[in-house]
Amino acid sequence: MLNTIACFKWVMDEADIKSDPKTRQLIYERVGYKISDYDRNAIEEAVRLQEEHGGSVVAVTVAPSGARQCLKDALSRGPGKACFINDPTFTGLEPGQTASILAAAISKMEYDLIICGEGSSDLYAQQVGPALAEKLGIPCATYVNKLTYVAEENKIVAERKLDDGIEAVSIQLPALVTVLPEINTPRIPSLKQVLGAAKKPVEDIGLDSLAGTFSPCLKTTGVLAAVMERRRLRYGTGEEDIRKVVEALLREGVIA
């Protein structure tokens, strides 16, 4: 029996974000939302482990109160319950704030394992998972692309995909892992799963029930779209041409 918490973030669908070509301001007015890509892997892995070993899966998110729609999306993917940690002020949270809020809520829950996505589709700061583990005082493994639960020893074996190879680590539970997309292929919810999501329990957790303060430490002064300019230059393959390519790249500051 393995009781798992899968954390997820409700993010803007980047495909819907437009930008004003003149001002480079981002336009969000017709943007849709989705579960952050790697968090789908986190939910899928939690559900897969539950199918194999029994236990429970609770999907947990920190979101503004208006983002309630995320719950059915998460629940349609298999968790038996969702925790909606919400407040109207929970918008544009920094990773540190999210980790603190999650820690304040999760510290009151019973769990063996917490699974987070390696990073979110919007910020990809890769901080919430490790910071949450730190605040809860539990061990953490990042970059996990394979996860095995060893029930008799109450531990997990996680394979971490690192630059120079695969590292297998064995961790006593309770623990937290952050997972890479290679760990699994999230299943597409069936129609009955979608229709059944509304019948699953949701625990609402408001700001007033959380101990602690969650202030930001960064100030965003502006967000502008990146610009890709095409120079439309053409070079041959001779030695002199290659030298010209390198000179052009140096001049543009692409290489130094």
Partner: protein
């Protein structure tokens, strides 16, 4: 008034898009170019519980609504019109008459495996000499002891080569014309039933269409659907709902044409600028987008009427008429925007142009749609 889809409908749309990206888009060109029937996709549709969307759970369906079904058809057709139509034919044409007119035993025996996607369904009304004039069919059914014996030839029958069961129409009393037509549930392995030549179509090329030949085809008498003489009514009411499905298919095709056109016009540079900066292109895109949106609202409205238990015959005909003409007109425009490259075999807009045409023809031509609409105005 509420233009907002339910959360469930929005989630289903997102699921179908994900499904299409994963399983439908990668083979859509093969389906068209090689006239390849995507059986693997059909199996996956069943796994997603999309093969009996609007039918009750006790009959193997998902117990969802018609609008959800329409959204699934729209999104599937946006990626591959063959796939969308295969599901439409199965759900609207084969399963519907059994759901609406079948006995409890017939539903348990046939609707359950249809809804679960264990078998595909087909609908055989058209004959070589009886298209729009469906009542003039020559096929006959004669009761012989405990069996009906069917004879005749059906034409342009979609899904027939892959169907496990067909709803076939034949006359039990030629002297009564339309009122002598009856509907029958015919298993694909019934003795005397043959699937004839596969037809080489202009569009929806992966969808399998064939002749169905009945030579002393024997079926148990309990396979009569409804009562003797009710067949024409059953066929017409089935086609009423089917039209919403074809409207959704046309809508998906038109949306795909718009998507392709917007993307290409931003990439294609002429006179030193993307062609999207020229007013001629902008106006074409504006007209396309406006028509696609109008088609969507008509189609969703017809589905909503169905879900509300309101009359929907006129609304379905309007949706089908407008959406199919929108698809035919704007797939043509999409090729114009693409220029030469859009005329090349295998290009997405070339395929869309060929796929769109049939939506003006099958399950009642657009001339029939106008008859239905004007008939309801002038009654």
């Amino acid at each position: 008034m509420n233009f907002q889809l339910t959360e469930e409908q929005q989630l289903v749309r997102a699921s179908v898009r994900e499904f299409c990206e994963k399983y439908v888009d990668p083979i859509a060109q093969k389906v068209d170019q090689e006239a390849y029937f995507p059986m693997e996709t059909v199996k996956r549709l069943a796994e997603q519980e999309w093969t009996g969307i609007p039918y009750p759970v006790e009959y193997g369906g998902a117990g969802s609504d018609y609008l959800t079904y329409i959204i699934v058809l729209e999104e599937l057709s946006r990626a591959c019109a063959t796939t969308g139509f295969t599901l439409e034919c199965h759900t609207s044409l084969a399963s519907f008459p059994i759901f609406k007119y079948g006995t409890e035993e017939q539903k348990k025996k046939w609707l359950v495996p249809l809804c679960k996607g264990e078998i595909l369904g087909s609908f055989a009304l058209t004959e070589p000499g009886a298209g729009t004039d469906a009542a003039s069919g020559q096929s006959t059914a004669v009761l012989d002891g405990d069996e009906y014996v069917l004879n005749g030839t059906k034409m342009f029958i979609s899904n027939a080569p892959v169907a496990g069961v067909l709803v076939i129409f034949a006359s039990t009393d030629r002297s009564k014309g339309a009122r002598g037509i009856s509907a029958f549930i015919v298993p694909a392995d019934a003795p005397g039933l043959q699937i004839g030549k596969h037809l080489n179509k202009m569009g929806i090329r992966g969808s399998l269409t064939a002749e169905v030949i009945m030579k002393d085809c024997r079926i148990p008498k309990e396979n009569l659907l409804g009562k003797e003489g009710e067949g024409f009514k059953i066929a017409m009411s089935t086609l009423d709902g089917g039209r919403i499905g074809i409207a959704a298919q046309a809508l998906g095709i038109a949306q795909a044409a718009l998507d392709e056109s917007v993307a290409y016009s931003k990439e294609r540079v002429q006179f030193g600028k993307p062609i999207s900066s020229f007013q001629a292109i902008q106006w074409m895109l504006a007209n396309m987008a406006t028509d696609v949106e109008a088609a969507r609202f008509l189609t969703y409205y017809a589905a909503w009427c169905y879900d509300q238990g309101r009359p929907y015959s006129k609304e379905a005909a309007m949706a089908r008429l407008f959406a199919s003409e929108c698809a035919a007109r704007h797939t043509n425009r999409a090729i114009q925007i693409h220029g030469g490259i859009g005329y090349i075999k295998g290009h997405k807009v070339e395929q869309l142009y060929r796929d769109a045409k049939i939506t003006e023809i099958y399950e009642g031509t657009n001339e029939v749609m106008r008859m239905v609409i004007s008939g309801s105005l002038l009654r």
